[in-house]
Symmetry: C3
Subunit: 160 residues, 3 copies
């Protein structure tokens, strides 16, 4: 039974297209009744930054600069292949729009509503200097150990 | 028994080197008697375009342009690290040739002959404006839901 | 029980940040008592080159040039997103240092000491012209077939 299955995605990449693939899988799996967790680490954390919140408190100079120059939330993510054959992100967005495909933000909000479990990587958050309240409220910070326990109990694990 | 095992590869990337890795695994798994499915999505679809066929019918302007400027079949795929240390694709191809390693096309044809199951992602095909008959005849278009059912029943899943 | 679990990582990428992610997972899994194998293929082989050793014997001109211009060991690996938002590798290293995070070399040595099994991909070694004694002594060269047998018996497989 699919209802007893569990899928775990380690979201490492901060690319628009890879985030889209991951969130389409997460939404679809939830529609099938599958239990889904996503662990956001390294560049993947940019996807779950709350665009409305960012803090300068208790940050080093590097962390402040880093927070400013990096993407704030889903729509600011770049494509993994920016210049591939001249295809820009705008072109992909227009093609998606022509087909009435939802945006990355829609899929992200869908995953939040459907109850996909969102974990943030403690080490990445510490190194990048993000505070828990700069991330979406659904994100719970866990260690690599906790991620591995969750992933090893899953029927399917993807590194994206 | 390996004969009862099943491997599923989600081919997201359109890079020559990653496609090579994926197809070497698919061929090798079939030689071991393992059941193999590959799900081509996003840039991965370029790998299973039939170089001899491409259509302009029922396409928007964007889709036509997209079809023209993107890789048509395996040998047109770029390296994931084009400029890494000055290593060009030609250099890799010559090194492979020196070792009498088969080309990407050879591995693709091997996978077709050995009966690897080829799926194309419906959403990607729709967004990119590809028609089913522009792809290799072995490719069956399925939804993300069908991919997930197949992947969740597999013993091993890779996102490449 | 986690002690009976097995994790397999196919290390394809030669990026500093992806290698860091893979080795943090490998170290953490070993701390949980999980059995871990890493299969280094393609660019991933650069991570397990022994920086102190490199040979010119029995190499073609291409292989010699390739050996010279590519990264020799962990600290020479580039970031997967060199220019992402102006973040350089030096900046990441300083942020890691501020948080007293160990370096990639520390995690690599940790994995060696903890007994992570290191495999090198025979085909990649042959194509790139590396000799077994140019790699870390822990690396055993195996075929894709042997990798697949190991991976298919694992509870979790990642392609990084």
């Amino acid at each position: 039974m699919l209802e007893e299955k569990k899928m775990n995605i380690l979201m490492f990449s901060g690319d628009y297209d890879k985030a889209l693939a991951a969130l389409i899988l997460a939404n679809t799996a939830k529609e099938l009744g599958v239990n889904v967790s996503m662990f956001f680490a390294f560049w993947g954390l940019f996807l779950v930054r709350d665009p409305a919140k960012s803090s300068l408190e208790d940050k080093t100079a590097f962390e402040k600069m880093f927070g400013f120059v990096t993407p704030k939330g889903p729509e600011e993510l770049p494509l993994s292949r920016m210049n591939m054959a001249g295809l820009g992100k705008q072109m992909l967005l227009e093609m998606m729009d022509d087909d009435q495909t939802p945006t990355l933000t829609d899929f992200l909000n869908g995953a939040r509503k459907k109850g996909v479990t969102f974990f943030g990587c403690k080490l990445s958050v510490d190194v990048m200097g993000f505070k828990e309240d700069e991330l979406l409220p659904e994100v719970r910070i866990i260690t690599a150990k906790e991620y591995l326990k969750d992933a090893l109990e899953s029927d399917m694990q993807l590194f994206i």
